[in-house]
Amino acid sequence: MPDVDINHVAHLARIELTDAEKVKFSAQLKDMLAYVDQLSRVDVTGVEPTAHAIPLTNVLRKDEIRPSIATERILKNAPESARDLFIVPKIVE
């Protein structure tokens, strides 16, 4: 049975969980992993690995400029904007 480090997963998703939620979601995630884990029991001898189920390759576009969207319209979706920039909490690293 796959194990779930609920604190690590919560941190990766940048969400805070209560202790009760941690118990609840741990169980749910374990169920999901167990469900998907059925795949590891399938005999894939002789099957080529693939990242896609559809045999489609080289979906490419020409390097041709298409109009962008007006800055005012784009910034309407920003919770906060100034100087035509999307304003975000101060980035420190």
């Binding site: 489609l56 576009r61 400029i65 962008s68 784009i74 304003i87 690293e93």
Partner: protein, 456 residues
């Protein structure tokens, strides 16, 4: 105990395409903030990225120039992390099937080249930060080297050679002022003779080739001194501050990212077939090293001149158009102005200038004045020579008249010359030059005078 450094580099290079990697937004530099954006590069839900064919071709071209194996079946993956400059909360990159594998730049091995998308540009203010997404989605090549370098100079030479190759191939302009070439560096130190590597320390935020050299010149002694003091180094990420000239700790191993790569479901794999590979191979330019050898062999240039010219592809092209009958002289003029290709001077003007000097039409000294005027006004040398009345008088009749005047006026110099003092001729040449207002061809003057004095 003596220590040595082990250095590997990860270089990010913006590809020279007109549009972004997954959408038709333009990639031109310097546009007003958030004017080159659309739902795709802003990471809106439900949009579909479509791969730019030119980005694939340019990456493969880079791989061919570096001698990589081209992956015939390549795919893209999501690299998951949160950062305000990454609108989707994942970067589309290549994890296990990069477009190019293996290769070499000089003596340094190249591990892989993969194609990914660039992130946005952030601006930091007192209480918050601002994000401009114009750069987000610009096609970016990541070129990962083997840990084959040992000194800051090795790293500098590798990056310089890599840049030369990419610019020559038209893959990228590698303009560091515009952030088109950026570098992360893995460096560790170990006692000389030890086979295993020391603790790997990553340095981020180096935006120029000379910055990488400076960062390593700081970081390598820092690590060696720490070991000599008996400290233990640990795997960590540091940030280079070019103004302070120091590296600072960013994060230790415990806080390393967990990227959870998985295949990008929205992009289909790319299969590079023989036809596509042959087409790209036909675009392969002459590589800088081969071009340097050819400049020496074909034009008889010294190694130094060939190196200077080839280091700047545009300069080398200019030279080839200007070489004419005296390539070395053309190279000398061209190398005096490294930005000559951005001046109004045309290559054929250099050819004409060299020819005018070689034919004795103007002196070398006058050539300098003509060259200065060519730089300023972009006029052909013949016109400048005419306008300035610089053409040397090579008309023997006129020179003979001046010579006779000079002989008549300077009996002492004449007597000295006839008495065997050859240097006395120079005084007479000087007189003739003066009479001709500097326009007489000095070689001709000298032979006319000598003939007259010896003949009579």
């Amino acid at each position: 105990m003596d220590f040595e450094a082990v250095i590997g580099l990860e270089v990010h290079v913006q590809l020279k395409t007109r549009t972004k990697i997954f959408c038709g937004c333009a990639t031109d530099f310097g546009a007003e903030p958030n004017t080159r954006v659309c739902p795709v590069c802003l990471g809106y839900p439900g949009v579909l990225p479509v791969m730019n064919e030119e980005a694939i071709r340019k990456t493969i071209l880079a791989g061919l120039m570096i001698g990589c194996d081209i992956t015939r079946h390549s795919k893209w993956d999501r690299k998951n992390y949160f950062y305000p400059d990454m609108p989707k909360n994942y970067q589309i990159s290549q994890y296990d099937l990069p477009l190019c594998l293996g290769g070499k730049v000089g003596a340094v091995g190249v591990t892989r080249i993969h194609l990914e998308e660039d992130v946005a540009k952030s601006f930091h203010f007192a209480t918050n930060s601002g994000v401009d997404f114009n750069r987000a989605g610009t096609p970016l090549m990541e070129i990962v080297s083997e840990p084959d370098m040992r000194t800051p100079e090795d790293a500098f030479n590798y990056l310089t050679a890599l840049k030369e190759i990419l610019v020559t191939g038209g893959v990228s302009d590698c303009d560091m002022e515009k952030g088109q070439l950026r570098c992360d560096c893995n460096v560790s130190v170990r006692p000389v003779g030890q086979v295993t590597f020391g603790e790997k320390i990553e340095i981020k935020n180096m935006n120029s080739i000379s910055g990488v050299k400076r960062a390593l010149e700081y970081e390598i002694p820092r690590q060696i001194n720490a070991l000599k003091r008996g400290e233990k180094l640990q795997q960590e990420t540091r940030r280079w501050d070019d103004d302070d000239g120091k590296t600072f700790l960013m994060r230790t191993k415990e806080y390393a990212h967990d990227y959870r790569y998985f295949p990008e479901p929205d992009l289909m794999p790319v299969v590079v077939d023989d036809t596509m590979l042959a087409e790209i191979r036909r675009q392969l330019p002459e590589l800088p090293e081969a071009r340097r050898h050819r400049f020496v062999a074909q034009y008889g240039l010294p190694d130094y001149d060939a190196g200077v010219l080839v280091a700047n592809g545009a300069l080398a092209n200019f030279f080839e158009q200007a070489a004419g009958k005296n390539p070395k002289a053309a190279a000398n003029w061209i190398m005096t102005v490294s930005e000559i290709t951005t001046t109004p001077i045309q290559p054929e003007h250099i050819t004409e200038l060299v020819a005018a000097i070689d034919a004795g039409q103007i002196s070398g000294k006058q050539g300098k004045d003509v060259f200065a005027e060519m730089l300023a006004a972009g006029k052909p040398p013949a016109l400048i020579i005419k306008e300035k009345g610089l053409a040397q008088v090579s008309d023997t009749g006129a020179i003979e008249a001046f010579a006779e005047q000079a002989i008549a006026a300077n009996p002492k110099s004449v007597a000295d010359f006839r008495a065997g003092n050859k240097a006395a001729l120079n005084a007479l040449v000087g007189q003739v030059m003066k009479l001709s207002k500097g326009k007489a061809n000095p070689q001709l003057v000298s032979s006319v005078l000598a003939k007259k004095l010896q003949g009579s």
